[in-house]
Amino acid sequence: MMASFLIAFVVGGLFCVIGQLLFDVAKLSPGHTLCILVVSGAVLDGFGLYEPLIDFAGAGATIPITSFGNSLTHGALQEAEKHGLVGVITGMFEVTSSGISAAILFGFIASLLFRSKSRP
């Protein structure tokens, strides 16, 4: 039980370390960095490596943005397995929907509730 928290902490932290390296060493903007991570999540799932990582690290692998790429690929592959090539397109958002819909929903709610403040 405690082990799973520790593993989530370490694995999630390592993803962020990779992100920070892309920020500071490769001098990439946040947008570029996140795109690279998402693409690498999608590729990792293509090799079937991301799901075991989720089994291993739990939230340590589902919370970083890489899991977004993973679940897009995963949904596409699942559908492709059932319906062939067409499934690649139709299955894309099968698994991912919650992250995007939550972000849209809460983004909209936030725009109703909050104002931005400039404080150092």
């Binding site: 039980m1 405690m2 082990a3 928290f5 593993i7 799901e51 990582l53 089994d55 291993f56 699942q78």
Partner: protein, 133 residues
């Protein structure tokens, strides 16, 4: 903030450690069936910390707890064990899972005495374990 976190962590700890560690518990089956289950699971002892198995009518529900560092191959372990169980119990519908949630739910089944209720509950657990998203 820190105290709240500590309390939350403590609750989760208590919740998680309900099932005894390092044991294999089988209920509802005949004695020789229980032994057989243990036998199959023992082969993989180094990767599994504990297990619960329930025989209900034609169903056999087996849940295992995988060692944290072996969780990488959780899907593989599930697959392997399911095959072995199916081989060992060709007459039963085998459902095997290494999911924590399924483990907790199966662990609770003991307290249910009535056959019908038990069967219903097993069905829900089975459907839960099949959910993909």
């Amino acid at each position: 903030m820190k105290r709240k976190l500590a309390i939350a962590a403590a609750c989760l700890l208590l919740a998680g450690c309900g099932a005894g560690n390092g044991e294999i518990r089988v209920s509802g089956g005949k004695p020789d069936e229980s032994l057989k289950v243990e036998e199959v699971l023992k082969e993989k002892d180094d990767r599994i910390t504990s297990a619960v198995a329930v025989f209900v009518q034609e169903d056999l529900l087996v849940v295992v707890e995988v060692r944290p560092l072996s969780r990488f191959s959780k899907a593989k372990i599930e697959e392997e064990l399911t095959k072995k169980m199916e081989k060992a119990f060709p007459d039963q519908t085998v459902t095997l899972s290494a999911d924590r949630k399924i483990y907790w739910e199966t662990d609770k089944l003991d307290e249910l005495e009535e056959e019908d209720k038990l069967h219903k509950k097993v069905e829900t657990i089975k459907s839960l374990s099949k959910e993909e998203t």
